[in-house]
């Protein structure tokens, strides 16, 4: 019996599920803020997968280093993303991404 949480598969499975949940959230929700959160969920899942894989290939700490940068990028992305949402809200009084459809076809 393999201990739970001590093999890579469990983590990959969990990370994949969170990643897919994030993707589904992005697909289903119309609220740009929630979509942004879904992207953050996906990045979190990536981090989990990276750290777990790093635990498997434990000769170096590349995976952890990558996660570190992913967190930094996620923060930067959130900042710009929220700024864009704000600017959109100022113009259309809405945060629903499907109302941004005057550009089409």
């Amino acid at each position: 019996m393999i201990p739970i949480g001590n093999v890579i598969e469990h983590y990959v499975l969990l990370a994949s599920v969170i990643f897919v949940l994030g993707a589904v959230g992005f697909l289903v929700r119309r609220n740009a803020l929630v979509q942004l959160m879904s992207v953050e969920l996906m990045l979190n899942a990536v981090n989990l997968a990276l750290v777990a894989f790093n635990r498997q290939h434990s000769s170096d700490m590349n995976g952890q280093m990558v996660s570190f940068f992913v967190i930094a990028v996620a923060a930067a992305e959130a900042a710009v993303g929220l700024a864009i949402v704000l600017s959109f809200y100022r113009l259309k009084s809405s945060v629903f991404s499907d109302e941004a459809d005057s550009l089409r076809h």
Binding site: F26, L27, V28, S97, D98, D101, S102, R104, H105
Partner: protein, 879 residues
């Protein structure tokens, strides 16, 4: 000094010669409006004149180098331009075509003509176009034309020549449509453009064929490899046979009989299609008469003296290719002769003086092709030069006349109609005398330039022909052997006959023109009634009240002589037209022109044969030529001077028979218009209908409709919502993942039909394992999957087998693929079957390019999915 500055292997002077007119064009095009007319004129004239001077310097440098039989060539290597071979690995591993310019005796002479005559015409235009609002634009185009023409002439390879070729076409198009406001001009421009495209297609095909057979496109490489063109090439049937005709017995047999020509014939005909387009030969001559809608100096420069002779130049340039194929040469000569006659006959019926000159240009171009077609390249090219002199002079003279008439009549069409002219001798003496000299040259007045050049062509048409390039007249080996087409014995009589009749006709209609313009009474005091009322009145808003009521007397200045900028070029050209013939007066054993060009055509001359006793024909044929001139001129004099000289009433009463004859003569003209032009018109109508319904309607419109409809449907997928967009991305990732993960049973086959050895390779893939059924019994050869992805097997003749294999991917999914194999029976046509492999098992002789191509085609036909070169599986080397 010239040698020190410009060594002959890197003759940069050529680049300067070419660049100067371009500089003029750019400056005039960009800054013309700010520079003003004087500066633009100076720029345009100055650059061309400099270019001309440099051409003269080049010419002398060439003359220095060219001693005796040796052909000299000065080359400027520009830069690597087009890759001719695919990249193979290391740097410098690729064969490049250079953008290089070169000059030899032929192109040197031609460049002198272009820049010299070009300069004169520039000078003329500076006055002729003075009042035109598009003055600087005109000079920009004209300089651009000279630039393109020089690239065409001096290009060291076919592609460079083609750049110039397209360039002159573009300039011609721009200049024909120069007054684009008028619908007629725009239509003429379009017509020229389209007709030339057909010719360009031929030139492109020729380039492709030469690349295939010779592997080079520059003059040196082509000359070295021209022998490769002597190989048979099957042109019918396409593929191995035409399927349906198999069932038709002996007729089907006849249809399916393989027919072959030499590659040289294919290349020659394709090249000639290009030449026919540019030089207005049957059937592509139609654009040139319409092209006269452009300003008259343009007609003189582009559509008479220089651009239209580019086709003749190309035939001369590629003479070593043309003489490989007697059939192609005969086509050139015959088309030339027919065009000459045909155009001359049309010229009878024209009243517009520019139209008459246009048809005479087509006719003279036909002469040139007749000359080069019978192997008399120097004679043909000499006619190019003399024609440049006298035709430019004629056109400019006509322009001078029109200039004078237009000042009076203010109507483009009426001022060009010779029925409104007459008696202008008195008003325009300079124009008259120069026109007279040129007229004498074109009708072949003894000792003028046209007399010598035309006489030489006619003589050679009778005495000269093309011999078979190989002594036994056969080419190819074994079953592929074919006989080379030979010139029939009557070719000389036919070509000479056509040429002679044309000479008579030329003398007649040119005299008619000459008399119509300059002799008799001036008829322009009022406009001929009923003439050209077709154009709408609103065409000429700009002339306003000046617009004349037809048939009424009109006010206006008397015709006057043109300013010096216009008659000086006329005088220079007339002088050249008068005495230029002594450059090549064989009659007096004076032929510097011939000896100058001899080295260029030395290779080609080996294939030209003369009839027995050719020397003895010189004087009899000379006599005939003088007779043709005298007959034509005399007849015209009789018909037009005598008939018009007396009141028509008395003439009819006195000589009813002659009048009827004259009337009938007129009817012949009418008939000719009805039949020839009418049938062309109705043909054109049919073509228009076909074009409208088939090409435009079904092909173009339908395709456009399908494309448009697909676009319209697809664009509505783009509904502007992020959710849809992201869904599309997810679906995309899923599809990519599926394509990557799912096992893909692709296989490619290496085929060796001759030996019957086939090998099948399944596509490698990450985590793939395979099992095979190589013997086609429906059972897997091994139960387990293994890493081997290639098998090889041997088949008997006509044996079929289906090889199957199964691929398993890393996830354990499988996919099955099947490869049907069949070793074909020998090619049914038999005649072109590749030689069978030697029985002793030695490797077959190195297959030639054609067989390789056939094999490659077979491989392609057998491959499912993505193909790879049949070489070893080098597919995946990382770089």
């Amino acid at each position: 000094m010239l040698e020190a500055l410009f060594p002959s292997d890197d003759f940069r002077l050529l680049a300067i010669i070419v660049a100067l007119p371009l500089l003029g064009a750019v400056v005039n095009g960009v800054f013309g409006k700010r520079l003003g007319r004087e500066a633009a004129t100076l720029m345009g004239l100055g650059t061309i004149f400099l270019s001309f001077c440099l051409c003269v310097a080049t010419f002398f440098r060439l003359a220095e180098l060219q001693e005796g039989e040796r052909a000299a060539r000065l080359v400027w290597h520009g830069w690597q331009w087009l890759p001719l071979s695919p990249y193979r690995g290391g740097p410098g591993d690729q064969i490049w075509l250079e953008f290089a310019l070169s000059v030899d005796a032929l192109s040197g002479a031609m460049s002198l003509v272009v820049t010299g005559v070009g300069f004169l015409i520039h000078l003329y235009s500076s006055k002729y176009m003075q009042e035109d609002p598009g003055f600087t634009r005109f000079f920009c185009y004209l300089n651009l034309f000279i630039f393109s023409m020089l690239v065409l002439i001096l290009g060291d390879s076919l592609p460079v020549l083609f750049v110039g070729w397209e360039g002159v076409g573009l300039c011609s198009y721009l200049l024909i449509g120069f007054w684009y406001g008028e619908e007629k001009n725009a239509a003429a421009g379009k017509k020229a453009f389209i007709t030339n495209r057909i010719g360009d297609f031929g030139l492109l095909v020729a380039m492709g064929l030469l690349m295939f057979y010779v592997g080079a496109l520059d003059w040196k490489g082509l000359e070295a490899g021209a022998e490769n063109l002597l190989q048979p090439q099957q042109i019918w049937p396409f593929g191995s046979h035409i399927p349906f005709f198999d069932k038709l017995g002996s007729f089907g047999e006849w249809v399916n009989t393989p027919r072959a020509v030499t590659a040289a014939t294919l290349v020659g005909l394709a090249l000639f299609l290009g030449c026919a387009g540019k030089s207005a030969q049957i059937p592509l001559y139609v654009w040139l008469p319409d092209a006269m809608a452009g300003p008259t100096p343009v007609s003189a420069l582009i559509h008479a003296a220089t651009m239209v002779t580019a086709g003749v130049y190309l035939v001369c340039r590629m003479s070593f290719v043309f003489v490989m194929s007697p059939a192609a040469m005969f086509t050139v000569a015959l088309i030339g002769a027919l065009t000459a006659l045909f155009a001359a006959m049309i010229a009878f019926a024209q009243n517009d003086i520019k139209k008459v000159l246009a048809y005479s240009t087509v006719s003279q171009l036909g002469y040139m092709f007749l000359g080069v077609g019978v192997g008399a390249f120097t004679a043909g090219f000499f006619h190019v030069v003399t024609h440049a002199f006298f035709k430019a002079c004629l056109f400019l003279g006509a322009g001078s006349v029109i200039h004078a008439m237009h000042a009076r009549i203010h109507d483009t069409d009426a001022s060009q109609d010779m029925r409104n002219m007459g008696g202008l001798r008195k008003y325009m003496p300079y124009t008259f005398w120069t026109f007279a000299v040129s007229w004498a040259a074109i009708v072949g007045f003894p000792l003028t330039s046209g007399f010598f050049s035309k006489d030489e062509i006619l003589l050679k048409a009778f005495t000269s022909g093309i011999a078979s390039p190989l002594p036994d007249g056969k080419v190819g080996i074994g079953a592929r052997e074919i006989e080379i087409w030979q010139w029939p014995p009557w070719a000389g009589y036919l070509l000479y006959g056509l040429g002679f009749v044309t000479a008579v006709c030329t003398a007649f209609y040119m005299t008619r023109l000459f008399i119509g313009i300059f002799f008799g009474e001036f008829r322009g005091w009022k406009i001929v009634k009923g003439y050209k009322a077709a154009h709408g009145h609103d065409d000429h808003h700009d002339h306003g009240s000046h617009h004349a009521e037809l048939g009424l007397a009109i006010q206006g200045p008397k015709p006057h002589e043109s300013p010096w900028q216009m008659w000086v070029p006329l005088a220079v050209l007339a002088t050249l037209a008068g005495v230029g013939g002594f450059l090549n007066a064989h009659l007096f054993h004076l032929h510097p022109f011939d000896s100058w060009l001899e080295p260029v055509f030395a290779d080609a001359a080996k294939h030209v044969k003369l009839v027995e006793g050719a020397e003895g024909y010189v004087y009899p044929l000379l006599g005939l030529a003088v007779l043709a001139f005298a007959g034509g001129v005399g007849a015209a004099y009789y018909v037009y001077v005598q008939q018009r000289g007396e009141p028509a009433q008395r003439f009819t009463e006195a000589l009813p028979g002659l009048h009827r004859a004259a009337e009938q003569k007129f009817l012949v003209d009418e008939l000719y218009e009805e039949t020839a032009i009418g049938s062309v018109d109705s043909l054109a109508d049919v073509a228009v209908v076909a074009d409208k319904w088939v090409v435009d309607g079904i092909i173009a419109r339908f395709t456009a409709f399908v494309v448009g409809a697909a676009g319209s449907v697809l664009r509505f997928l783009q509904n502007g919502r992020v959710q849809a967009y992201s869904l599309s991305m997810v679906v995309g990732v899923a599809l990519i993942g599926w394509m990557l993960l799912a096992p893909r049973a692709e296989a490619r086959t290496r085929v060796d039909d001759e030996k019957g050895v086939y090998s099948v390779t399944a596509a490698p893939g990450l985590g793939y394992s395979y099992r095979w059924d190589a013997n086609g019994d429906g059972e897997w050869d091994t139960k387990d999957y293994a890493a081997a992805n290639e098998i090889s097997l041997t088949l008997e003749v006509a044996q079929k087998r289906t090889v199957s294999f199964e691929v398993k991917n890393a996830l354990g999914q499988t996919a099955m693929g099947e490869v049907p194999l069949e070793r074909p029976k020998p090619d049914r046509s038999g005649a072109f079957e590749p030689a069978p492999a030697p029985p002793d098992g030695a490797p077959p002789p190195d297959a030639d390019a054609e067989q390789n191509a056939e094999r490659a085609l077979k491989i392609i036909e057998n491959l499912p999915g993505i193909k790879q070169p049949p070489a070893p599986p080098a597919s995946g080397e990382p770089q």
